[in-house]
Amino acid sequence: MSAGWSSLEMAAAAAGDLVDGTYVNLGIGLPTLVTRALPSDREVVLHSENGILGAGPPPEAGDEDWDLIDAGKQPISLVPGGSYFSHADSFAMIRGGHLDVAILGAYQVSAAGDVANWHPGAGIPAVGGAMDLAVGARSVWVLMWHNDQDGRPKVLAECTLPVTGRGVVDRLYTDLGVFGFAGGSLVCRRLAPGVDRATVQDRTGTGIVFDDKEGQQ
């Protein structure tokens, strides 16, 4: 598993694709790393489901304000131009198609762009805003490790865990590369450094169409 991106490099790949003026919601877990990788040459406005636009980096230790937390209940800050609003208004933004991008973590993604990220299969599930984001954001990106801790593929022909949304994922960022979805198939757009086509296919549970000119150069 030495080849491919680190978690921060995966996040940087996604962050680099966010253009100036994008409104983005970052799911809890891996996607929060995107905040650390945002290029400084553009303004990307971060939405937090608990009623914040303009979420900023965590405060210094000791300066935490527990009335200013992100979706993962961690202390954050507010950037100039930010605002506060109610949950109903926050999810009106999400459901109403006002967010340009939602970057979700996931357990599984299917070739059809289904995403499973709310029910681990056993124990108590917790859906939070995942289903709202999955159908509401204009573009849904998933940021996750390509394989689980036991090396099993998380990108599959069909999700085996309960799905969050069907046919909703537009892009997938993993440690092995960047993927899209077309005609019911997974499409590899870019390979991470040191990863070849055979490796990524071998570690994926569905057939891949390769369209990774950039990565192969």
Partner: protein, 220 residues
Amino acid sequence: MNKVATDIPSAVADVGDGASILVGGFGGAGAPTALLEELAGRDLHDLTVIANNAGTGTTGLAALLASGAASRIICSYPRMRGSEIFEKLYSEGSIELELCPQGTLSERIRAAGAGIAGFYTRVAADTDLAAGRETRVIDGRLHVLETPLAADFALIRADTADRWGNLTYRKAARNFGPTMAMAGRVTVAETDRIVPLGDIDPELVVTPGIFVQRVVEVPS
């Protein structure tokens, strides 16, 4: 990111024939008069206007209607003192009217902005305004199914803006502004002033910039 339009014409440059337009305001309060008069000065046709009223006097929405730009209006209260321009167009058959109860109008606009595909309300059930409409008995009472009301553009007037499109309003000029801002595919706000980013207290922002595509300064 800079949503500030340099002038009024460029703020609404892409409004074309056949567009649907949400128009803010309750009477004159909150009406985007400058944007409406800009449109009135063009040779526009077949607009659908969604507003609470149908214009009074000869300015603002009344001017737009007088220009012949609108073929259809959806509103709650078209007939009032000073609505002669609308009344003349209506009696001539030059404009189609869809009357909608005021709260159903604002809720249909909110539904469009909030991604709600339809809702049930008791308002207008078993009245002529709901004739022929889909109904449903819920908890023993008759309800009407109402549908969302989005538009290509929302034109509103606000008090203060910044370059991210955050808005505050002044007193009861707020009215339809925050709701319509959510439902325009392109929302344009004319505002009394535009201040530097960060000058609006985040607790005071009424319409977060995510709902606004353009702002233009039009001092009152």
